[in-house]
């Protein structure tokens, strides 16, 4: 059953308060409100939509189980993204997904050889549509080292402030700014001429 539309407009923190006061059914408002953003965020971490959906379900359960510990002086979105990011990092660690940088050479018996991308590199002419560009951007994000990917995904999309990202990750503000700067540099180098410079 869908919650009352008037209640669905309430700010996150008020919904949390009502859930804690016995309106457990209203937790559906928060799930509805965040499910796309959290699944999108997780998908860019782990790469697969199905994995992202599974982790998102765990995240929403964990948030609910710890709702009484939520500190209302923080934003609910900060808290849920913090739990989602940690869940994604845990998942990647458990799966031991290789996330080595493309810049790193491959060690072989004959010494080290430079990495080459699988398949022919796509040129700007081949990437004509906005969807293609987005797919390239998603791939470039996947190729970022974990520490950069985590922060760039908290920054974009959504434009969370550096302070909020520092709260989510527990990292010093300077480290957050520096890593986002580096992540952008890498993405810019990776995407090269695909980006329209006129915008």
């Amino acid at each position: 059953m869908k919650p009352d539309p008037a209640l669905a407009e309430l700010p996150d923190e008020k919904v949390v308060r009502l859930v804690l006061r016995g309106r457990e059914d209203l937790y559906a408002i928060l799930v509805d409100r965040y499910r796309r953003r959290i699944v999108g965020h997780l998908m860019r971490y782990v790469g697969k939509r199905d994995d992202a959906l599974d982790i998102a379900q765990e995240v929403f359960l964990k948030v609910y189980q710890n709702l009484a510990r939520f500190d209302p002086s923080y934003r609910f979105s900060t808290w849920i993204y913090s739990i989602a990011s940690n869940a994604a990092i845990d998942k990647l660690r458990r799966k031991k997904v290789p996330t080595t940088s493309l810049d790193q050479p491959i060690s072989t018996d004959d010494g080290e050889i430079a990495r080459e991308p699988v398949g022919p590199a796509r040129t700007a002419d081949e990437i004509v549509g906005a969807e293609d560009l987005m797919a390239e951007v998603e791939s470039a994000i996947q190729r970022l080292p974990d520490q950069y990917r985590e922060l760039i995904l908290l920054r974009h999309p959504g434009g969370r402030s550096y302070d909020e990202i520092a709260s989510i990750t527990g990292l010093p503000l300077g480290t957050v700014k520096n890593r986002i700067f580096r992540a952008r540099q890498r993405l810019r180098d990776d995407l090269g001429d695909l980006l329209p410079a006129g915008t």
């Binding site: 799930v31 499910r35 998908m43 009484a68 002086s73 700014k177």
Partner: protein, 190 residues
């Protein structure tokens, strides 16, 4: 400002985080440097592209699945917060009990208690026992109240606190007037 200095600031410039005294020299440099201007345009384009990333559609069944998995009761607060909350509740109940005992005779409550309890053959001990039972009931209520209070924002909590103090002052005034009007005999428990 040279190109290296300018490029170190471009990311913050795109985010509009630079102070005027940092932004002005950068903008002056960008006016005369084509390469840095191109770099700034690329960075701006990257940021707007990243902001344009769309989240996937997630069907309504997802919410239904999550809601079906939730435990029937919201888990109670655990750990240090839980212990602290119960500590506060116990302290509040104990204080209320002691203050109540101290104030009861002065406020004429002793007479009320005597009139209601004596015909039942009640004693001071039974009165104390009843008070203790009332305190336990109050503890359960206070636990719920504490849960409510911890979920309040600071503004609401401050408002609630002022209301609480005001209500207590009004109650004390009413009791004092009642005592002055009825002039009950000061009795002591025996």
């Amino acid at each position: 400002m040279n190109c290296d200095d300018a490029r170190a600031l471009l990311s913050d410039h795109v985010d509009r985080l630079l102070l005027p005294n940092e932004a002005m020299p950068l903008e002056r440099h960008l006016e005369r440097c084509d390469d840095c201007r191109h770099e700034q345009a690329l960075l701006g384009s990257l940021v707007s592209t990243l902001e344009g990333l769309e989240d996937p559609e997630v069907p309504d069944e997802f919410t239904a699945r999550v809601m079906a998995e939730l435990p029937e009761r919201l888990p109670a607060q655990e750990g240090a917060g839980h212990v602290l909350r119960w500590g506060l509740v116990c302290a509040a109940v104990f204080s209320a009990f002691v203050v109540g005992l101290a104030l009861l005779p002065k406020l004429g409550g002793a007479e009320v208690a005597r009139d209601t309890l004596r015909p039942l053959g009640a004693s001071f001990e039974l009165g104390g026992l009843l008070l203790a039972h009332a305190a336990v009931a109050m503890a359960a209520t206070l636990d719920r109240a504490a849960s409510f209070l911890t979920s309040l924002s600071w503004v609401h909590a401050a408002g609630f606190g002022m209301l609480f103090v005001g209500a207590n002052l009004a109650l004390m005034t009413a009791l004092r007037r009642y005592r002055e009007c009825s002039q009950p005999a000061m009795l002591t428990w025996t």
